[in-house]
């Protein structure tokens, strides 16, 4: 059978359909008009019109992170593509599989500084896993299939396909996915059996073992989370996770120590510092995790499971590197461990748990409650209590609220927590929440936000309204850039340089202007009712939660400090008493 001949624009839509794409987030413009014309003439792929291309990419990220599928964004040339750069970088840092299709000026105009021309592949080369400029229509469908393969294989990431307008107009033979050129890019998924056995041996004798898990477990799929849970239950080892890995192991699980890192829990960080066997599963020793590298977990043997060879020994030298996919490796490790008799060092573990429980008793998340103002921690505790057990997805912006959300909200399942970890992109949360809601129309999707981050992409409320995405914008409003303010207080002599928000909009009126519901709460006594009203309302809600303005986020490991020098509060005495426990 000969290949079907069609225009490049039609190929784009056909290739997306053949790849199982149901929804595209995009914004039209001159250089993608032929593709939009094709989108107009079909009903299989839903198009979500965003208000800014950055929003489109974050929506694709939210969609991808909450479904495990590849998210797709469609933007025009020039400014459309440059606006996508932040989202691409965000997805690269957090290993989120997305595809951005960008229009480009016609091939014969490339290099002439044409209207809305930008060197898109040049600009996006360092912020994509791979990108392509397609100059021939015959190669277009094959390249799109390759793009899907690269985005989701190995360590997932963003890819971009730049398509000149004349390539969209011209015709050529369509290549179906099963006919696509085989890619040499086939990252290894199976781990080395010898290395896995070495890990199991260490697990059998370790006195103070610890699982340190990351986003790689989520990326590996639901099966990997299941295997991790089985392994943790069977061994009785404690487990902590990075910001990106929350939900892989349930927050209600008895081995759960909470998140680790700069604003991680006391027990998690001290366990990292004091363990004698660290099993890193799909995490990358980020600087927000390690603190001072020289003093990082000084007494432990370190195992590192990662699919990306460049993650191994990049920051921390490890004793047992295992290259491959988390799910495959956990499966093999579990088999080998069982076959060798399910051994653990019971006495060592009992002592280790006793120690950990002493650290837990410090109750590091405690805060001074207030009857007058809403403490941010209290707001999140109530949000957690009132939404627990619901079909709930959480996105966040970036800053104090994000860390509090990670501390106070519990995640029982993977893919339920969407946050910008590596890049720390303020403005990520609203569009991500819309992307999640589009993928899960019936679910409760809440964006836990700070007012400053939220304003960065608030135009996307228009998208939420147009496409009836009933996202709940839970804005913890302290009229401050809270995290910046906190650092200025602790590290810059309380000189609060440009870290407060003046001339904030009236969020309730803003909600009315968008046509959605606005709620404003400042009294802790009204909080529960307001949260319930937000949940029950059938449509988007902007929830203005006026919180304590000068609350700091603790625990905190100041940058460049080791884990055992974490601050539990701004009170220096508490700091000292915290430090002597190690």
């Amino acid at each position: 059978m000969t290949a079907k001949v069609m225009t490049g624009a039609k190929m784009v839509v056909q290739a997306l359909k053949d790849q199982g794409v149901e929804v595209v987030f995009g914004y039209p413009g001159g250089a993608v008009l032929p593709i939009y014309d094709e989108i107009f003439q079909q009903n299989d792929i839903r198009h979500i019109l965003v208000r800014h291309e950055q929003g489109a990419v974050h929506m694709a990220e939210g969609y991808a992170r909450s479904t495990g599928k590849v998210g797709v964004a469609l933007v025009t040339s020039g400014p459309g593509a440059t606006n996508a750069v932040t989202g691409l970088t965000d997805a690269l840092m957090d290993s989120i599989p997305i595809i951005v299709l960008s229009g480009q000026v016609p091939t014969f105009m490339i290099g002439t500084d044409g209207f809305q021309e930008a060197d898109t592949v040049g600009i996006t080369r360092p912020c994509t896993k791979m990108n392509w400029l397609v100059k021939e229509t015959e190669k277009l469908s094959d390249t799109i299939h390759q793009a899907f393969h690269v985005a989701k294989s190995g360590r997932p990431g963003p890819v971009l396909v730049d398509i000149p307008k004349d390539v969209q107009f011209a015709t050529g033979p369509y290549t179906a996915p099963e006919k696509a050129r085989g890619s040499h890019y086939q990252p290894r998924v199976k781990g080395d059996t010898e290395a896995i056995t070495r890990m199991v041996e260490l697990m059998e004798t370790a006195e103070r073992p610890l699982f340190y898990t990351g986003g790689g477990v989520i990326n590996s799929g639901k099966g990997a989370s299941q295997l991790l849970r089985e392994f943790v239950e069977a061994t009785g080892f404690p487990i902590t996770s990075t910001l990106m890995g929350l939900g892989a192991y349930p927050a209600s699980g008895k081995a759960w120590l909470g998140m680790l890192g700069m604003h991680g829990l006391y027990e998690a960080n001290l366990a990292m510092h004091g363990c004698d066997l660290m099993i890193n599963v799909g995490a990358r020793f980020d600087d927000r995790i390690t603190g001072r590298v020289a003093d990082f977990s000084p007494k432990s043997k370190k195992v590192h499971i990662d699919i990306d060879p460049s993650s191994i020994n990049k920051v921390i030298r490890v004793d047992v590197p295992i290259l491959g996919d988390v799910g495959h490796i956990l499966e093999d490790a579990l088999k080998i461990w069982k076959a060798r008799g399910r051994k653990v060092n019971k006495d060592g573990l009992a002592k280790w748990w006793k120690q950990i429980n002493e650290w837990r008793a410090v109750n590091c998340l405690s805060y001074t409650p207030s009857e007058k103002t809403i403490k941010p921690q209290y707001a999140l505790q109530r949000l957690e209590a009132l939404t627990k057990g619901m079909d709930r997805y959480i996105t966040t912006e970036v800053g104090q609220h994000q860390m509090w959300a990670a501390q106070f909200l519990g995640f029982e399942e993977p893919n339920r927590w969407m946050t910008s970890g590596g890049l720390g992109t303020m403005g990520y949360g609203i569009p991500a929440s819309i992307g999640v809601q589009v993928a899960h129309p019936e679910a409760l999707v809440i964006n836990v936000a700070g007012e400053a981050s939220w304003l960065m992409n608030m135009q996307e409320m228009g998208t939420a309204m147009q496409f009836r995405a009933p996202v709940k914008q839970f804005i913890m409003n302290n009229e401050r850039l809270g995290m910046v303010r906190q650092w200025q207080e602790l590290l810059h002599g309380e000189r609060y340089s440009h870290s407060w928000s003046e001339s904030l909009p009236d969020f309730v009126k803003l909600a009315e202007a968008f046509g959605c519901k606005g709620l404003k709460v400042s009294d802790p006594g009204d909080l529960d009712d307001a949260i319930m009203e937000m949940i029950r309302y059938d449509g988007p809600v902007i929830f203005d939660c006026l919180i304590e303005k000068h609350e700091n986020c603790f625990p905190m490991i100041p940058s460049g400090k080791p884990h055992n020098e974490m601050l539990l509060s701004a009170d220096a005495d508490a700091f000292k008493s915290g430090a002597v426990l190690v």
Binding site: L133, V150, P187, V293, N313, S559, G560, L567, S569, F575
Partner: protein, 186 residues
Amino acid sequence: MSALKIKKGSTSHSAYDLRDHHSEVEASHTLAVIVENEPGVLARVIGLFSGRGYNIDSLTVAEVDHTGHRSRITVVTRGTPAVIDQIEAQLSRMVPVHAVHDLTAEGPSVQRELALFKVVGKGDQRIEALRLCEIFRAKVVDTSLESFIFELTGTPDKIDAFADLMRPLGLKEIARTGVAALSRGF
């Protein structure tokens, strides 16, 4: 109230751990990178080096297999063993990269570079330049009454040595290809 006791005048307000420079020894390594011959692949490799702060001492690239669409990039770089490992890992995970060989680590290798030298002079200087050319087994590939172009192939050290000798004899321009290298044996 500041909870962190930071010394007055300290510059360590940075968010990052300002690392001590380890006294680990840097060494020169020659890497052969086999890549898909496609647009942008060289920019991708160079961008990796500049973006992550690695050194490039020399770089050559050319297609080596037309039917298989393969190019070979030879990079001479410097770094501590950890940095060299990281460079190799970063290169090998790139989508259009087929293979990375650290020729320095993998055993003995042959390294050659070609250079052209334009030397301008008269009389004794000119005779001396020609004499040295013979000693180095360089070739004269262009001549006028007052100038030569010498072609020399050899290790970078040999080319450096020849350049040093030519400098007082009227060396005007040098063009070097950068290192091409293959491992010895099979």
